[in-house]
């Protein structure tokens, strides 16, 4: 694979910064990180373009004119952006300023007559391979595409002069998100609940099974977003967590592609559903047609021993 001359990275979280810096070193001869926040944390590229601190006064969006100016001046061949929410917005703003689109949420990225990326479309039913031939390609890159390995590069820190933005966004408050910190992406075993649960009190049946086998509890989109019975961090699927468990137990889950794509790489899939025609039975290794209120307590009792 040929390398590009110049690859930039924009990240806001440390883990993504390390992954993208390593990715940039694979794809480009010369690499640079554009960074706001604690300068000591930045590194892994040939150059660090340091924007300044992050505070209520300066949230990342306030640096967008500075970032756009820098990219227009430096003209990298590729900008790898963390696919966080702020990263997606920044990628869109940069791409527009360059008159191009974004290779969004790349799950693979390579150089082949332009920048070629792969991404999930149609709710997980397909993967689309796309090529960008723009002079500067902007791509948001999903977590885990590159490993967070050491690049051995000692960065040269360059402070970038601030270009003031239009005064259209004023930060009133920033607060740490309340809610659970659960990392389903790293979970080896997952017990997931769906619409087959008819009341929030029933969730404890799944939680007890999960506790008995050392699993994390996940759920489908409606349980998190419509019923709000579980934190959004536990929602598995296209717009939620893409998990890679060894064991997945889906309970009261019909098996729609939007959810199942989030666990499709599981080594073993087990389904518990009262509807024998549920789609999940065609996608499982083992299943039982039965009432979750009967199956779960019995299963927990047998496995808890």
């Amino acid at each position: 694979m040929s390398k590009l001359a110049k690859v930039f990275v924009i990240a806001e979280h440390n883990d993504a910064m390390k992954e993208l810096a390593y990715g940039a070193a694979q794809l480009g001869e010369n690499t640079a990180l554009i960074w706001a926040g604690e300068p000591r944390q930045a590194g892994g590229t040939d150059t660090v373009y340091y924007l300044g601190e992050l505070s209520d006064e300066h949230i990342l969006e306030h640096y967008s004119p500075t970032i756009i100016n820098l990219i227009k001046t430096e003209q990298p061949n590729l900008v790898l952006v963390e696919s966080s929410r702020k990263g997606r917005l920044m990628a869109g703003m940069i791409a527009t300023a360059l008159g191009t689109s974004v290779l969004a949420d790349a799950t693979e990225i390579s150089i082949d007559d332009g920048v070629v990326s792969k991404r999930m479309v149609y709710g997980g039913a397909a993967f689309s391979t796309e090529r960008s031939t723009a002079p500067t390609t902007v791509a948001t890159v999903s977590a885990g595409v590159f490993e967070a390995a050491d690049t051995g590069k000692a960065a040269n820190l360059v402070e970038v002069p601030f270009t003031a933005p239009a005064p259209s966004i004023k930060c009133l408050e920033r607060k740490i998100k309340v809610g659970e910190s659960v990392n389903l992406r790293a979970a080896k075993r997952i017990v997931a609940v769906g619409r087959g649960f008819t009341a929030p009190e029933e969730l404890k049946l799944a939680e007890q099974l999960a506790a008995a086998i050392g699993a994390e509890v996940g759920c489908t989109r409606p349980i998190a977003e419509e019923e709000k019975w579980m934190d959004k961090a536990r929602y598995i699927g296209v717009s939620g967590v893409m998990a890679k468990p060894e064991l997945y137990i889906g309970i009261g889950i019909s098996g729609q592609v939007q959810h199942m794509v989030g666990v499709s790489s599981a080594r073993t899939i087990i389904a518990i559903n009262s509807d024998k025609n549920a789609m999940i039975f065609q996608q499982c290794d083992y299943g039982i047609v039965g009432d979750l209120k009967t199956v779960l307590p019995a299963l927990t009792a047998k496995l808890g021993k």
């Binding site: 929410r85 974004v102 479309v121 149609y122 796309e130 996608q283 299963l299």
Partner: protein
Amino acid sequence: MKIVACIKSVPEEQDISIKPDKSLDLSKAELKIGQYDLNAVEAAVQLQEATGSEEPTLVSVGTAKGLKNTKLQKAMLSRGAGALFGVVDDSLDTIDAFATASNLAAAITKIGGVDLVLCGEGSGDIYSQQVGPLLGQLLRFTNLNAVSRITPRGDKLEVERTLENEIEVLEVTLPAVLSVTSDINKARIPGLKEILAAGKKPVTMWGGGDLELVKSGSIEVISTLAPPQAERKQIVFEGDSEENITQLAETLRKVL
């Protein structure tokens, strides 16, 4: 406050079948409103109700199949919006996010006087989550995504943004493009009365003669293929008898 919500017709995923060469067959797929767009429409209607503004306007970009379809038009207009503007051309079927945003921007500029544009988190089919951010920058409006609450504050908005680890509360100057999260609200389900009334609401379709259409971008789709499916054993015990549960427990113990 003049509010626009962006909306897209997308194929029903359940009806998408996979051809032997792994490409997708969309020919039997019914079109529906992208699920995330419903939250943008609902947020627009709730904001209109809170501020006493005129009914929000819907704007969509697509093909005749998606937009000149009376049933879909009624579905779009039965959720509280007052009018629908479509940018229609059959060449707009598989355009990239930049081309979509450019055409939306042209329509919104032509409508004129728009204070607030709401987009969903992403489209129901391609879900690149980019049209909102691109549109905001093209229109040179205040531009934010991940918006999980919108409260009117005089001639400004107070907006809450739900990020990975933190919540931001921001004061936003209009005009703005805000992309809302899929849990900002629970979209209303229209009744028969609303669906009937929707048939009487104004629908305007613009084509190449009315707007300068952007038909291609810088991204080329090389292929769209179904992923290889892992072979699954599909051993299913029918019925929740003690014996079946014991068998399942034994199986589970082996994989643990």
